[in-house]
Subunit: 290 residues, 4 copies
């Protein structure tokens, strides 16, 4: 594993048409603190440090060993809607919302991206690929081909708004420009797809190890995410069961060994998503306005 594997994902996190100055500041690079040597993991915990490039501008205000006077100088006392500012200040009895917002901010996701990059590198060893693309932004839908192109992330990265629909891109960017002009923000929906997953990942026995539940929990813990769907998602609630379930067929050319009652099967569709499927996972999640 190389720092490049992580830095590439950190860079993708900072992409995006119309991104402001803050994102420019944060050209993140990971520094290995432990657990990796000469490009190999050692079995011991991997610690990564992502220095805050903006730190020098804030050192006096945020200093761990500063005086209360330093702290008072640039106090933030107006809690912003859509953030943890108010609840956090009340919960931990703070006078400065900065004590809350610096933790609950988008920077927290940088750590997740770094950890995720390592996880992705591990999954790669088992032939598992993960990718994502934007399926709607600012209320404009972006089409996607029935058969997704791979490596999905590389293809999506070619679009400034990470869709697979060049025609939609211009309209989306125009809407972003208009929202910026109006001092407003926009939200969107992203589809995440994994392929090459082995059967049986997760668990059917313990609720807290079920893959659907763990993925939904992880995604919904992102402040901007307000909905998570798996497979057909909400649509599954509106169709009859006959149009929801993924029938299992004996698969020609996959004849099970004689005397075997298992193996040699194929799903006709992938509506239910990952946790029961032999086919790729399709998780779809939507983020509210940042």
């Amino acid at each position: 594993v190389r720092a490049d594997d992580v830095d590439r994902e950190l860079a993708r996190r900072m992409q995006g048409y119309g991104r402001g100055a803050r994102m420019k500041i944060e050209r993140d690079r990971v520094e290995w603190l432990s657990g990796v040597r000469a490009g190999e993991t050692l079995g011991s915990p991997v610690a990564m440090l992502i220095a805050n490039r903006d730190w020098s501008n804030w050192e006096d205000v945020m200093a761990a060993e500063g005086t209360p006077g330093d702290l008072r100088r640039r106090r933030v006392s107006r809690p912003r809607p859509g953030h943890a500012d108010l609840a956090g200040v009340l919960k931990y009895d703070r006078l400065d919302a900065r004590d809350i917002l610096e933790r609950a901010s988008a920077r927290e996701t940088a750590a997740r991206v770094a950890a995720g990059a390592l996880a992705r590198r591990l999954l790669e060893e088992f032939g598992i690929e993960i990718g994502s693309h934007v399926v709607s932004l600012g209320g404009i839908r972006a089409a996607a081909p029935a058969e997704l192109p791979w490596p999905l992330d590389e293809v999506a990265d070619r679009s400034e708004v990470r869709t697979l629909d060049a025609a939609a891109d211009a309209r989306i960017m125009a809407r972003i420009d208009a929202a910026k002009q109006a001092g407003d923000t926009l939200g969107g929906e992203v589809e995440i797809v994994a392929r090459g997953l082995p059967v049986g990942l997760g668990s059917h026995v313990s609720w807290d190890r079920k893959l659907d539940g763990r993925l939904a929990g992880a995604l919904m813990s992102l402040p901007a995410v307000k909905a998570v769907e798996v497979g057909l998602g909400v649509e599954a609630a509106r169709r009859p069961g006959s149009e929801v379930h993924d029938a299992v067929d004996a698969a020609p050319g996959m004849t099970p060994p004689a005397g075997e009652s298992r193996g040699g099967v194929r799903r006709r569709s992938n509506r239910a998503g990952a946790s029961r499927g032999v086919s790729p996972l399709a998780s779809r999640w939507c983020c509210g306005s940042p």
Copy 2:
């Protein structure tokens, strides 16, 4: 805490227009095995046993100490779509899908309902109320008043399909009848609401303790649930930020004590749902066809 507190929730789980014979069998009653004495919890773990009323019909086939012959007699070898049968049989190397389906079945949720009933009883001590109602079933939407009636569960229980919309009930039941006739099934959407929550429940500091994430994870771990929304849900991704965030106002009549920079606030709306709000949680989830 009384067994009635739990049995009432177990009974609600078994309600439902058009429920089949299996549900009739399962008139569940909880038996305390430990942790409760004379109606009080003792600090030690609470263990509850819900006997399977249908057990006597299966004892010879399912016996823990049976012979392989007993087991072979009624083997299930055809995995059903929409269930864990296939993945489970492959993962744990079983010859009988019954080893999987009896665990992954709806019966597993009986244990969750019993544990949840105890949790609800605890929350009651803190003035926290939880309720739910059906907002769509079989593709038919059920309206709900802007101000929800409480106790919400009692009101919803008056409807055979647990809506707050008597007009919709007849149409929904007709659709259920038609689906049964056609040998098909239907799905629906449920809204879960909690009120009386203190500010700061959950966490803004650790992803795995965030309330939104934990609730989404728990709900999505139910086999039939394929989508979870919090607050505005998917809709939040389609609106501009100005119509998504919940503005914070200084609240008249809630003046903070002099010299205090906190307190005395009110949200103008509740679009974001629980984890940041001072107002009630609105979690909405949707279940696929059972």
Copy 3:
């Protein structure tokens, strides 16, 4: 896995020269509630129920749904030394020490023995054997041969006080008789040995996964246990390092494959016990007076 595998261990727990009436009551038998079918585990959680044979004598006093009157009738208000009675009553605000003592009692260990029997059955599949014998009781030491006899538990069970030293047994039993006569109790020391362990069990990287630490923690959580030693134990603190460490030799007849820098080694001694050894684990723990 059969109920016999568990019941045998439950019976061993009840052995012991001079055991009183309480132990006679508790001829425990396990009942599988879930996770086992026709003698095989299914991948789902294994639940075992050990009914309290003495229950019928206590049902009215201990009933989960009883009245406070039932409870008051046989209240225990005198906390015993050497037990959790006093601390528990204060911590959980109880009026009856029975609410504490029934949980903190020796019966709690019945559940551990049942779980341990299952774990032992699993280890057996990997060629790992575990056994124990008494090395001192009431201050009288019991000798053990340099090479322990296996299966160790079977040999120790032949002694009424589970030693490997027939000469010591008579003296120990006489001391037990005298203590009973005097209304007193005695303590002892037990050695637990595992053999067939693979190298690398546990962890050198994370303190909470280290085998020594986990074993010590589990043993010390038994109310009667006041000391845990691994390998040489306390003695290791009194000897010079040259008489403590286990030297590593290249082992003749275990030549590593050419070009390999690992493998083909042997320890000269086993003073350090398990976690670093290629040789058997020797854990020694001592229990205070019951």
Copy 4:
């Protein structure tokens, strides 16, 4: 909380008569990475970095992004007894024992000391004090007064070998000198005492939350520790019960309120140690030769 609170404990870790060059290198200082601002914790995770002062000498060999050639240059292929070298190399399939020993080394305890310093600072807010002193070293016992002096650590720090027995110190230091001369090492026993603990810390209901068990597990996870005793320790196994248990008396001047069956008690002794006592914890552990 100040860095000084942590650095003081890190400095104590490096004390010790006859300590070698390695310890001199490691004059550790903590750097707050997150969770602390202007001397207050913020509710978010506290991250501390202790830079390795010796790093510059090793950077080329240990580099995370180095080449296999860098790595091969100073490979360690001779596993030391009394260390995790051999087991770790086999478990994680490494060619260089340095990948193991740098993690399993004494440096790992620096992180524990830093975390413990923070925990001690928290306990201080509740009036809980912790201290330790050496009770034997190299087989020479150091006496301690019946009533320990407080602050215990400050008093023990005045001795070069951290005893409370000036007479023993000279003999101990002479033995250390002799061992060094002979190229050998020595071990010792340490007593750790906490006072001001509230009743009910830990648990009588769940084995994995019992204080005795958790403390024993944490101590035994230190590589050099081979025995942990609580209260009387091993001695408890050799005395009759009447000389082991701590009798509970109604305490004069602590009369419980009328009608109350609890409160107003006192222990006559503290043989059992912490988890059941109303009196101070006395944990004793012994470390093998370093």
